[in-house]
């Protein structure tokens, strides 16, 4: 058999036809010429075989891509995959899908911090007045009446919790202050008080089961007090301790 309308189409034209890129002349020729049509079929079969055998042959398996993403591959293998990802749109797409998928499932693996701990910023409800008059016992920190001069109590509110703070002179260390605190309204048994000055933690002390805390020997300054527990964290900011 020969071409019915020479010159016969060359292979480049036939390949373009198979890809849907051929012009009208080529399409018309093939409609009329069984010889060139037969050649196109053979080329198509060859391409089909090559595509089936070679499609994504150089791509890492989905498991390898996943291990690459999780950072559990040996360095050499990870570098090979990183290089492959620069060229391969399919693997890049699958990696993006994996990232999204793992992100959506992350809540199945760990609580978010918001779920685990409530963080509350306390607000000052009542500022202290200098007074030596005794206050009702229920409102006073346990050790409030024990030592030297004192600033008036400050009452902070954070959610259902109330934090009563009193500052007194430290009788053992001249120029230093003692912070006395009382936490009410929540279970205080597991609370720890952290005192910060200029982004450095100065001290941490446990709050007793009645809600009392004592922090002696403090240099006058403006502090941040954080009361942290398993379910809640209370922040008291800009706590002036003898600064005035």
């Amino acid at each position: 058999m020969t071409c019915c309308s020479p010159p016969e189409l060359d292979d480049a034209m036939l390949l373009a036809y198979l890809d849907g890129e051929a012009d009208q002349k080529v399409v018309a020729h093939l409609e009329q010429c069984p010889y060139c049509r037969g050649r196109a079929q053979l080329l198509g079969r060859l391409q089909g075989r090559l595509r089936t055998e070679l499609y994504r042959v150089a791509c890492p398996t989905p498991l390898e891509l996943g291990e690459y993403h999780l950072g559990v591959l040996p360095d050499v293998q990870a570098r090979v995959i990183a290089q492959h990802l620069k060229d391969c749109p399919h693997c890049s797409r699958e990696l993006g899908q994996l990232r999204t998928y793992l992100g959506e499932l992350s809540s199945d693996l760990a609580f978010s911090p918001a779920e685990r701990i409530r963080v509350l910023v306390a607000r000052l409800v009542r500022a202290g007045e200098r007074t030596d008059l005794p206050r009702p016992a229920a409102m006073a920190p346990a050790f409030a009446a024990v030592r030297g001069e004192k600033e008036g109590p400050r009452l902070y509110q954070a959610g259902e919790a109330q934090v009563d703070i009193e500052i007194q002179d430290d009788t053992l260390r001249v120029g230093r202050k003692t912070l006395l605190g009382l936490v009410t309204g929540i279970d205080a048994g597991e609370l720890v008080a952290h005192l910060w000055l200029a982004d450095q933690q100065v001290v941490q002390v446990p709050v007793d089961e009645l809600g009392n805390l004592v922090i002696p020997s403090l240099v006058p300054g403006s502090y941040d007090l954080i009361l942290s527990g398993p379910a809640v964290e209370i922040h008291i900011r800009d706590l002036d301790i003898g600064a005035g």
Binding site: A16, L18, L46, L50, A58, L70, P89, D108
Partner: protein, 234 residues
């Protein structure tokens, strides 16, 4: 937290029981101890303890089934949920050994790996389907039915064979242009215009791509050794 030495001494049944209890606490968003479940995985993977692995499968199958259902490509996979659950566990069991286990410091990292195995199982299926569609498209344009069948039913063997075949083809390519065309069009499945856009300095327009492809295919068809591998396509 549990003492690690005591963990090693506990019977599997005790570890399994505590793992269940702690997992229930986790899902109630209560304080929980993940070390028992972690110890289960350690025994299964490091000690290759099959009974421990059976416990893990029973314990986590419902959770993994949920992960399968939530995967966006699951509905297109053509298989039941349990198929992918089993494939995910198989992958984890086959992939992790005592050396690799050291890269997983806690239970969360192990479960994240299991999630990744779910994704991997589903994408395996997607790739197979994609490959079948790609070859069917070319076959339909050439108006002929496939003249051959895959040589191997075993997926792993088929993959080895494909890589060897690629090495044979690659060894017969003369220059970087030919490599770009063959790799771009057959390995990556790019269309001629996409190839031109990717390698603008090499190919001025699609006619250059077809010219290179024509030369490569003519050479491959004349290759007697490849003709045996390719079968009746020339």
């Amino acid at each position: 937290m549990s003492d690690q030495i005591d963990l090693y001494r506990l019977a599997l049944a005790s570890i399994a029981h505590r793992c269940t209890r702690e997992t229930e606490a986790f899902f109630r968003r209560q304080p929980h101890d993940p070390t028992f479940c972690y110890e289960l995985f350690r025994r299964a993977i490091v000690d290759r303890c099959q009974p421990a692995w059976d416990v893990i499968y029973a314990q986590y199958s419902p959770l993994v089934a949920g992960w399968v259902e939530r995967h966006p490509a699951f509905v297109f996979g053509g298989e039941e949920i349990q198929f992918f659950v089993n494939r995910a566990f198989e992958k984890m069991w086959a992939a992790l050994d005592s050396a690799k286990f050291g890269r997983f410091p806690n239970l969360e990292s192990l479960l994240r790996y299991l999630q990744m195995c779910v994704h991997s199982a589903i994408v395996d299926q997607s790739r197979k389907a994609e490959q079948a569609v790609a070859s069917e498209e070319l076959e339909s344009r050439s108006d002929c039915s496939p003249a051959w069948q895959p040589r191997h039913d075993d997926l792993a063997l088929a993959e080895v064979y494909r890589r060897e075949f690629w090495e044979q083809i690659n060894a017969r390519l003369k220059d970087e242009q030919e490599r770009q065309v063959v790799y771009g069009m057959f390995v990556l499945g790019l269309k001629p215009r996409e190839l031109c856009a990717r390698y603008q300095k090499t190919f001025a327009d699609v006619r250059d791509v077809y010219r290179v492809k024509e030369n490569v295919l003519a050479r491959l068809r004349r290759d007697a050794e490849l003709a045996e591998i390719l079968g009746p396509v020339a």
